[in-house]
């Protein structure tokens, strides 16, 4: 790592793919110094991946090696990730009510699909805005939006009235 100059914290950071390296190998954070965490947090925050980084580190079983003050930042971003997830679940829940009542199936793509599919990392789901598509079908087959979907396989499809339960 570069020599850290506390007077010029950002100038003393050369291009470094620390965040990518930590995602590849979370054990890298063990023994990371002030300058290393500074760079890692800056990169994570800049890419909106701080919450995901924290879950990633936890899954790798090295959360205990995170300094307390970094742990506080992780706690804060997890609150935000959880609230975004709640927002997505709420949106899906409302749309689902309307669409199923009108007799349409509902497809979830991207973030909403990950969230509804019970993705292990709430932050993953929270990064993307919810996208929900309502396939329109008639006797002539798929049409409109859904025809563009022909080649792609949705991650989650709800055709019943049952949605995953919303967490309290």
């Amino acid at each position: 790592l570069p020599r850290f100059n506390p007077r010029q914290p950002f100038l003393s950071m050369p291009p470094d793919d620390l965040l990518l390296r930590v995602f590849a190998d979370p054990a890298l954070i063990v023994g990371l110094g002030v300058e290393g965490w500074e760079l890692l947090l800056v990169q994570a925050r800049r890419t909106n991946l701080t919450a995901r980084l924290s879950y990633w580190i936890e899954c790798a079983g090295v959360l205990g090696d995170v300094p307390d003050r970094i742990g506080m930042q992780f706690a804060a971003v997890r609150v935000v990730a959880a609230s975004r997830r709640r927002a997505i679940e709420w949106e899906v829940n409302r749309l689902h009510r309307v669409l199923t009542a009108a007799g349409y199936p509902m497809l979830l793509l991207k973030g909403a699909a990950y969230a509804a599919g019970g993705c292990r990392w709430p932050a993953v789901a929270a990064r993307w805005a919810s996208t929900s598509w309502c396939p329109v079908t008639n006797s002539k087959g798929p049409k409109g939006i859904s025809s563009r979907m022909a080649g792609s396989r949705p991650s989650s499809t709800f055709t019943t009235g049952v949605l995953p339960k919303m967490e309290p």
């Binding site: 010029q8 914290p9 950002f10 100038l11 950071m13 800056v42 990169q43 994570a44 925050r45 800049r46 890419t47 506080m72 930042q73 706690a75 804060a76 971003v77 609150v79 935000v80 959880a82 609230s83 709640r86 309290p168």
Partner: protein, 262 residues
């Protein structure tokens, strides 16, 4: 923050500091990432730096429930003075500091939802307009900084936080009173007990991240209101208002207001 005229703050685009100040030939801009938040004249850089700190807290400190309030403590029990800008909470806070209360914060109340304690973040008390002269007269020994005219919140001067408050900044306090001061020149100064539910709703309206914390916010706020007594405090004279809050410290929290008080 700025070094020389025209010199950029050392922060190349691409790094992710939450907030950066950029010195320009004619002034400064607060930046978030690469995009300027707002251009501000150099002469009011200090108040803006202070609002920048607040912005960072509101934007990032979601491990806490954050209120727009002043928090002062006496005898281990804290009074939350909550209200929007202009309600007189900073002035009242400064007056209470003059009576020996400890400053936890003048601008943000931080409640740790797990422990139910208010955390100190002692910084200069920002006084506005008429409050500057008033506090200067009330507390002649207090050090006030330079007066910044015509900021977006009017004239602003900063009162130095008491040394004691800064030295004890690692020491949290238990919430005991929630007071909603509202200043009006023709107000009848009184400390009117509020029902807990009303106090909850009014404090929630002064929360920045109530929705983000979800269920935890409801429970933490409920617990806090459960142990604290709530009051509305319309006041015309800050000394009289401080006297009333001072009187609270004599009363035991459990006896202050019955649950079903009007």
């Amino acid at each position: 923050v700025p070094r020389k005229r025209g010199q950029r703050f050392p922060h190349p685009s691409g790094s992710g500091s939450p907030l950066e100040a950029v010195a320009r030939g004619n002034g400064q801009a607060l930046r978030r990432g690469g995009e300027p938040v707002r251009d501000v004249p150099r002469r009011i850089a200090l108040p803006w730096a202070e609002w920048g700190f607040d912005w960072c807290i509101y934007t990032y400190a979601h491990q806490f429930l954050i209120f727009h309030s002043a928090v002062v403590e006496k005898g281990g029990r804290a009074a939350v003075l909550a209200g929007p800008s202009g309600s007189g909470k900073s002035t009242l806070c400064a007056a209470l500091l003059g009576r020996g209360w400890r400053l936890l914060s003048d601008e943000v109340g931080l409640l740790d939802p797990k422990r139910g304690l208010l955390l100190p973040i002692p910084r200069p008390v920002a006084l506005k307009d008429a409050s500057i002269g008033l506090i200067g007269r009330l507390l002649p020994h207090t050090r006030l900084g330079r007066v910044f005219a015509a900021t977006r919140k009017g004239r602003i001067a900063h009162m130095r936080p008491p040394t004691d408050a800064v030295e004890r900044q690692a020491e949290p306090a238990k919430p005991a009173w929630v007071v909603f001061p509202t200043h009006a020149n023709n107000a009848n100064t009184e400390l009117a007990p509020l029902r807990k539910a009303a106090g909850f709703v009014r404090l929630e309206a002064n929360c920045y991240n109530y929705a983000a914390l979800g269920c935890n916010a409801f429970e933490a706020l409920g617990k806090m209101i459960g142990t604290a007594s709530c009051f509305a405090l319309p006041f015309a004279d800050v000394e009289a208002a401080a006297e009333l809050v001072e009187g609270l410290a004599e009363v035991q929290p459990a006896a202050a207001v019955p649950l079903d008080a009007a």
